[in-house]
Amino acid sequence: MIRKLLAAIVVVIAAALALPAQAQVRVNVEEGHLNPMPVAVVDFLAGSAAAQQVGRDVSGVIRANLERSALFRAIPTEAFIERIQALEVPPRFADWKIIDAQALVVGEVTPLQDGRIRIDFRLYDVFAEQQMTGFTYATTPDNWRRIAHRISDQIYEQLTGERGYFDTRIVFVSESGPRTRRIKRLMIMDQDGANPFFLTGSDAMVLTPRFSPSTQLITYMSFETGAPRVFLYNLETNRREVLGDFPGMTFAPRFSPDGSSIVLTLDMNGNSEIYTMDLRSRSRRRLTNHAAIDTSPSYSPDGGQIVFNSDRGGSPQLYVMNADGSGQRRISFGEGRYSTPVWSPRGDLIAFTRQSGGRFAIGVMRPDGSGERILTESYLDEAPTWSPNGRVIMFFREGRGEGARLWSVDLTGRNLRQIPTQTDASDPAWSPLLP
């Protein structure tokens, strides 16, 4: 017994003596930076002259996407030391470390026998000296921009741990013509402003387009039939239809997260209430019942709650209710009038428009109303829409006496950028990632 005790004491003493030899300096790092990560995107390799142009274009779109996110900085190609000559040979990481590239993107464009093109790409972690991912894509030559966006999404996902948002489209209201006879048509384009197309003609005014978060369906309001009506537009089939036969005006439609139903506002005799409508059975259900105006509903991403706008408290404010209409409670208490609430696809924030002191602002708050932050403010900023990863908000801005234009801002509020459009543009709606 005593021997065992002695042995135990010896072990404890030995362990105590051994500790300093293995001691580690313990350091806490609590402050860091949020600078854009330097990334080197090499012009994609190619055999033929035509493929070389595609290679340069793909790399250019990737660089522009990464730069626009403000999370990355594309290192100028003139700074590159190594000239990548074959995709199969690993890069000389030391050459990329010298120019401070954290990640390296290389790729190759190859024309295929059947007329399509194949694009290969590799993403390397320069300091870990290892490949992070690699993909091969094949498509028609005129679809190269989508591949560039897909590659951008892969890079974004690997380097930030979040889903990307580059392979997406924006539907919006294109505005043209004199102020007294404004023509408002539905238009769609890539998220970077490329490939714009009209979806509707110039005979009827359209408003508030919204993308389904899970399908290639759009809902919007149109005066095509005389009175304002909510329409559905299927991008795959190019067909559109009036949604339901309501006795009054319908407006402010928005899809449920699974795309199976729509929540909208129905106005009868001057009283606006919020309804849901199942897209299969077309059955509808009223969610609010109040003498005040209840409008602009938007689902939480889990489908369990709805944020909406109501002036039941005297001025337009934001309210949240359960998806069945129960538990209605006010969440906005700041100065000014709150409108157009949109729940983030991440679920953690609600974006809104706030009108205060003669100016309009785009802001975010938590679903319980706390943590309100204004991201951008001007003469008129309105109609926020979220990128599918919940990091960027697009909206429209109108100056005094100027036409409306689309802008985007990230959650820091620092990365404010105008989106190029060929006409004046308002009411943007961001698509989910393309299938």
Partner: protein, 243 residues
């Protein structure tokens, strides 16, 4: 007066016509069907990871080891995969000048470092017999130096969801010249594979440790430079200050 009215009318008519022309041009964008053009996608990450594949193959042409500090104290990281002899020769020819210049610079820097290390080795091994107070003050200075370096290399998690939760502790070992010895390893959290936010926090911590390599300020510091035994092993926790 009449001339002014005339000029005004001409001006207005001109402006209206210009607007109509521009409007017409804007309206002439094509209407298209918008079905998404499919893309065939193949994940080639595993097949294309030449480096990982190469690590499975025994290297026949391993470059002779350079002079190093004692192996027991500083085990070397696994040798980098060697390209095939043909590739190697081709690349050697292509990059002859750059490689030569870079080698010269490295040799010069290495010889300088070795000289410094030799001088240090000649001195008394002060770290071995440190008093508690002296050790504490040296550790505090080392922690400050390492923190100052890593603050510039760590991309904070402040922009992520629920950032206070994302605390990551990594351990790493340094060589006498301040360079990283082997790869950093994660001490905590223990399991983060299925937690995308924590996964990203770990990536940011690991990237910070690698990006800051070499930790030159430690061997060059007049106070702690000689106490390699104290700063050889580091344990760093990355995370926002808990209020």
């Amino acid at each position: 007066m009449r001339a002014g009215v005339l000029v005004s009318i001409i001006g207005h008519v001109g402006a209206v016509m210009m607007t109509m022309l521009a409007w017409e041009a804007r309206s002439s964008l094509p209407e298209h069907t918008l079905a998404v053009v499919p893309i065939e996608i193949v994940d080639v990450a595993a097949e294309a990871n030449i480096r990982a594949l190469a690590e499975d193959v025994p290297d026949e042409e391993v470059a002779p080891q350079e002079e190093q500090a004692p192996q027991e104290e500083e085990p070397q990281p696994a040798p980098a995969p060697t390209p095939t002899p043909q590739q190697q020769r081709r690349r050697q020819n292509e990059e002859f000048n750059l490689a030569e210049i870079s080698g010269m610079i490295n040799r010069e820097r290495d010889s300088g470092r070795r000289q410094q290390e030799g001088q240090r080795a000649d001195r008394t091994q002060r770290g071995a017999g440190l008093g508690t107070e002296e050790r504490a003050s040296i550790e505090a200075r080392i922690a400050t130096l390492v923190r100052q370096e890593l603050q510039h290399c760590w991309r904070t998690v402040a922009d992520m969801r629920d950032p206070e939760r994302l605390r990551v502790t990594v351990a790493f070992r340094l060589n006498r010249d301040g360079s990283l010895n082997g790869q950093p390893r994660v001490l905590s959290p223990a399991n983060y594979t299925f937690d995308p936010d924590m996964n990203e926090a770990v990536n940011r911590a690991m990237r910070a440790v690698r990006t800051c390599d070499p930790y030159d300020r430690l061997p060059d510091d007049p106070v702690v430079g000689d106490h390699f035994e104290v700063w050889r092993d580091q344990e760093v926790t990355f995370g926002l200050r808990i209020q």
